[in-house]
């Protein structure tokens, strides 16, 4: 194991430095994540938004070193001063679940179908916190109650299939929170849920994040979820972060045309029926055949010659806002064209 670097209290909890993920496929190398730099501080929520194939899930897996076996990771993932890319698998195992916890889109990914929900939480507590069996079970009941599941004692003795979708996600959240993680990564946590249940789960996650002063990364394809529930937001396209800013700045003063187009494409509740939507033409690029230049260029309304030949770097607009575009939208332009 590498010697631990001293942890500076002012530094962010998590810092990604030039993180790339390459996947060998039958059609050639696929660069799923391309030189991502990011940081998240304790007590903050970062939203990562992107369409399918943009690399947002692969990026979240890269943070916890949970990539597919064939994937190649480069760059550094600094968590609490430690470079996770250099940790042994045993040290990583102790870290995951304890300091970094996950909530996935499908709660059955993290729930064991043949164990009662109470047993699963108790098992985590015994493994990571060394609680003895009875104390662990008592704590499991408290956790199940704290995530808003009625009749917690009875519920702890039931199996996941006896829970509804929303209740399963609550149970998965209870397991994720059981060891008081410093970082919670929620990957599309409400995508499979109905709108009324989605509101409940987002509310629960926000409440727990504030209460515990955790850092949270909320990964979603839904800009509306990012808008209401995050401090900062990063937009991914074709494996890269193309814009990152405090959430309000991103929605009101975006500089990257893709961000603008994505927000404009959402149907608006205050538009009258049959208002044509501002669709983005074309398709996302094929990740096994990266284009020279900006990946969004073929679909961009503001494209110029330079964009097709040279990849724009992610540059800071100010200390908290960065974007990757040669011809950004003027900073005074409002969200909806």
């Amino acid at each position: 194991m590498t010697p631990q670097q001293p942890h500076d209290a002012a530094s962010p909890l998590l810092t990604l430095e030039e993180v790339s993920v390459d996947l060998p496929t039958s059609r050639g190398n696929l660069r799923a994540v391309d030189r991502v730099n990011l940081s998240v501080a304790a007590g903050r929520t970062l939203g990562i938004v992107g369409e399918s194939g943009s690399g947002k899930t692969m990026l979240s897996r890269a943070i916890a070193q949970l990539l597919p076996r064939k994937a190649r990771l480069s760059g550094h993932v600094l968590f609490n001063g430690q470079d996770l890319t250099r940790l042994s698998s045993e040290s990583l195992r102790l870290l995951r679940g304890r300091s970094i916890a996950f909530v996935f889109q499908d709660p059955m990914t993290s729930l064991n179908p043949v164990l009662t929900v109470g047993m699963q939480i108790a098992e985590t507590l015994q493994e990571h916190l060394g609680l003895e069996a009875r104390a662990a079970m008592r704590r499991a009941v408290e956790l199940i109650a704290s995530v808003g599941i009625p009749n917690p004692e009875q519920r702890c003795q039931q199996y996941p299939h006896q829970f509804s979708g929303g209740m399963r996600q609550r149970a998965a959240i209870a397991i994720a929170l059981s060891c008081e993680p410093k970082l919670l990564i929620a990957d599309e946590p409400t995508t499979a849920l109905d709108v009324t249940v989605q509101a409940q789960i987002l509310h629960l996650l926000a409440h727990e994040q504030r209460q515990r002063g955790m850092a949270m990364i909320l990964i979603t394809h839904d800009l509306a979820v990012v808008a209401g529930r995050t401090n900062d937001a990063a937009v991914m396209y074709a494996g890269r972060i193309v814009e990152r800013a405090p959430t309000r700045v991103l929605f009101k003063h975006m500089r990257m045309p893709y961000t603008q187009a994505l927000i404009a494409a959402i149907p608006k509740l205050d538009s009258p029926p049959h208002t044509p939507l501002l669709a983005i033409p074309g398709l996302p690029p094929d990740p096994t055949h990266p284009l020279p230049g900006c990946a969004f260029a073929p679909r961009c309304a503001y494209v110029r010659d330079q964009c097709r030949h040279h990849t724009p770097p992610l540059v800071p607009a100010d200390h908290s806002h960065e974007f990757a575009c040669w011809h950004p939208i003027a900073s005074h332009v409002r969200a909806t064209p």
Partner: protein, 332 residues
């Protein structure tokens, strides 16, 4: 006609293209019966886009399938241009099917992976008895072009060579190739990314105008529903709780469930307030729905009457119908 049948006329147009009367769909297992659609009546005018919204398990897809005769109704009638589809035999049904088509949520799964796009789109023409190969081919090319695919590139491809959005375009072309009057769209954009979703919604709107279609649109995303609909029906546990013109329903919902749904939608605006009231609970199991009003177990306005009596769908405001003993409209 029963008195409840005349109620169906009351909340719809007088000469509808499609009329559903007291439709019931039950699924039976060896031990229990689930009433997925429970006594639903509605009517859709020619040229109208009528949307059904509701959460998973509310019966909206079952209702669509029962209208299309893909699922057999337990009782009730489906009148398409005055023809009772539930009473037709197989060959009569096949003839009328050309006039009503359906597209589904998962466009890739809806296409046979072993057939070329041109053959997939041309198949309804074969079923409709168009014998002449040249006219099938020319009609297929016209439709591929109309949905925004280049016939020269797309025709010989297989579905796995196309993206999800392109497959949905193929599904739309296949549905429209026989010139239907009614197009049922069951969650047509739910599996698509935001940037592609807008393309497909715009395409459906332009196809509706070009082919003078009537649309029955099923979705759980209220913002999408607002964008395409003339009238909206909200379903909960197999029953309609509200039917109203789109603007009216979104501006002043009458049923507390409609209000709850509207409140729960996350807004793509960081300045929009996060909803102060968080909806409670989840829809109960349709195997044992609550007595009286099915929404009462989650309703902030529920009173003892709601457990005792099923509220009928009644007119609360002009053209706005709600099944609620204590509706919201008019009280605020």
């Amino acid at each position: 006609m029963t008195s409840r049948g005349s109620q169906a006329e009351a909340h719809g147009p007088s000469h509808p293209l499609l009329r559903v009367e007291n439709l019931v769909v039950e699924y039976a297992s060896s031990t229990q019966t689930v009433r997925a659609v429970s006594d639903v009546s509605l009517a859709i005018a020619r040229g109208e886009t009528f949307s059904l919204v509701g959460e998973s398990g509310c019966g909206k897809s079952t209702l669509a399938r029962a209208i299309m005769q893909l699922t057999k109704a337990t009782s009730g009638r489906v009148l398409f241009d005055s023809l009772d589809l539930t009473a037709l035999n197989a060959s009569a049904l096949r003839r009328v099917r050309q006039r009503l088509q359906i597209i589904f949520q998962d466009p890739i799964a809806s296409l046979n992976p072993r057939r070329r796009i041109a053959d997939i789109v041309a198949e309804p023409l074969l079923i409709a008895g168009v014998r002449d190969r040249a006219s099938r081919e020319s009609r297929t090319r016209t439709l591929l072009q109309a949905v925004g695919l280049d016939p020269n590139l797309a025709a010989s491809r297989f579905p796995n060579e196309l993206s999800g959005g392109q497959c949905q375009r193929v599904c739309i072309a296949r549905a429209l190739v026989v010139n239907p009057e009614l197009l049922v769209c069951d969650e047509p954009v739910s599996s698509l990314d935001v940037s592609i979703r807008a393309q497909i919604i715009n395409l459906l709107e332009s196809m509706k105008a070009a082919y003078r279609l009537t649309l029955l649109f099923i979705a759980h995303d209220l913002a999408v529903v607002k964008a395409v609909s003339d009238r909206v029906a909200v379903m909960y546990l197999g029953k309609l709780c509200e039917v109203a013109p789109t603007e009216q329903l979104f501006r002043s919902p009458a049923h507390p469930y409609t209000a709850l749904l509207l409140d729960a939608i996350p807004r793509p605006d960081p300045d929009a307030a996060v909803p102060a009231t968080i909806p409670v609970g989840e829809p109960p199991s349709p195997i044992a729905p609550p007595s009286g009003c099915r929404f009462r177990t989650r309703c902030p306005r529920a009173q003892t009457l709601c457990a005792a009596q099923i509220p009928p769908l009644r007119e609360i405001a002009p053209r706005q119908f709600a099944a609620c003993h204590f509706p919201l409209a008019g009280t605020t």
